[in-house]
Amino acid sequence: MASKRSAIRRAARPPAGAAVPRNQDAPSPCACGKPAIYVRRHEGRAYCRSCFCESLEAKVRKTILKHRLVEKGDRIAVGLSGGKDSSSLLFLLHRFFAKRPDISLVAISVDEGIAGYRSQTLEKAKALCRQLGVEHQIVSFRQGLGKTLDHRLRDAKDSCTYCGVGRRYLLNQAAREAKASKLAVGHNLDDEAQSVLMNFFRGDLLRAGRMGTLAADAAQGGQGFVPRIKPLRFIPERELTLYAVLKGIPYSDAECHYIRGLRPLVRDFLYDLENRYPGTRYAVVESFDKLKPALRALPRQPLRACSRCGEPSSQEVCKACELWPGKRARNRTVPARRSRDSGQVKKQQRTR
């Protein structure tokens, strides 16, 4: 059987020396007739350059509409790392909403102080904001938390926890101070599928239930939390890279050298599965979404103000105060009044 098939293939091959026809093994072209540059394997569909971009934009728009991620009058803070995900996110939100007079955007970058990494990505973030004319603010670990990540990790092991906790804390604080009604983050389908599996592997179901996926989850808004939205939640990172490349969006593909622990293992495992069984990541995230109503029904800690810094927390002392003890105790008046003179939020530019 197999030999018969290969015989057919051999027969179909042009004689030696003949020019190889370009489309010999190529999949069918895009539905519009133009040559394909991308195949969405789980759909079994090929896309040309322009149909691919339109399809990605339509998907993101659909996520935003279906889950009402953006509402009339929103001021959206966009967490901008300078990597391909958040850069594409800012580009897309600007494309969708720049003409809406009632909606405004502000980009916020967090400088963790990771030598040789963050400076590269920050340059790209600045370039993109300049190009789009979007207001850009940079907040730093050093000023906001008392130490750079490099410095803090001299006496700590679990780098991603320190980094993640610190970054979420500062992003939320900066978004609130920028008077944002939403905080958009660039989490993609790969990130989400990884997080779901990691929470399962750690037996941390409650945390999975809290996993802020879409704005609906940010019933946590209030208490000083700016509701987080994830418009890219259903877009694979491979497609976001392609989109950024095709649109010429400035981004940095530098990789943080602190990444270790469970996530890279789960990431490689999921990539392997995705390659063999296209659609795996969607299946993981969809399964989780079906489970979520049940997880939400489980009892959980109500939010209160951290006794040290006043930021929202489920414990008496928030995670950021626990991991970053050198952090300035500030914002006791959250969210009613905030002083702006801490110097923590540096205005980069204000072109709009």
Binding site: R13, V20, Q24, I37, V39, R238, T241, S252, D253
Partner: protein
């Protein structure tokens, strides 16, 4: 035939049988096709694209930095 793979600015020569495709190149390098995009010159090309001797194929990695 010999082609060149470019990863993070570094170039390496790879020998492949005539008629090989981008997918064969990735297989030889041990790269999961899901983790990269491939480009020849300025053009993004599919995994199924046939290679010619002397091709310079850039591997654009898709993994995020965080």
């Amino acid at each position: 035939m010999r082609v060149h793979a470019i990863r993070q600015g570094k170039q390496e020569a790879v020998d492949l049988p005539k008629g090989s495709t981008v997918k064969d190149l990735l297989g030889k390098l041990g790269v999961n096709p899901e983790t990269v995009l491939t480009a020849r010159g300025e053009r993004i090309i599919l995994e199924t694209a046939p290679l010619q001797a002397g091709d310079r194929i850039e591997l654009i990695r898709v993994i995020s930095g965080g």
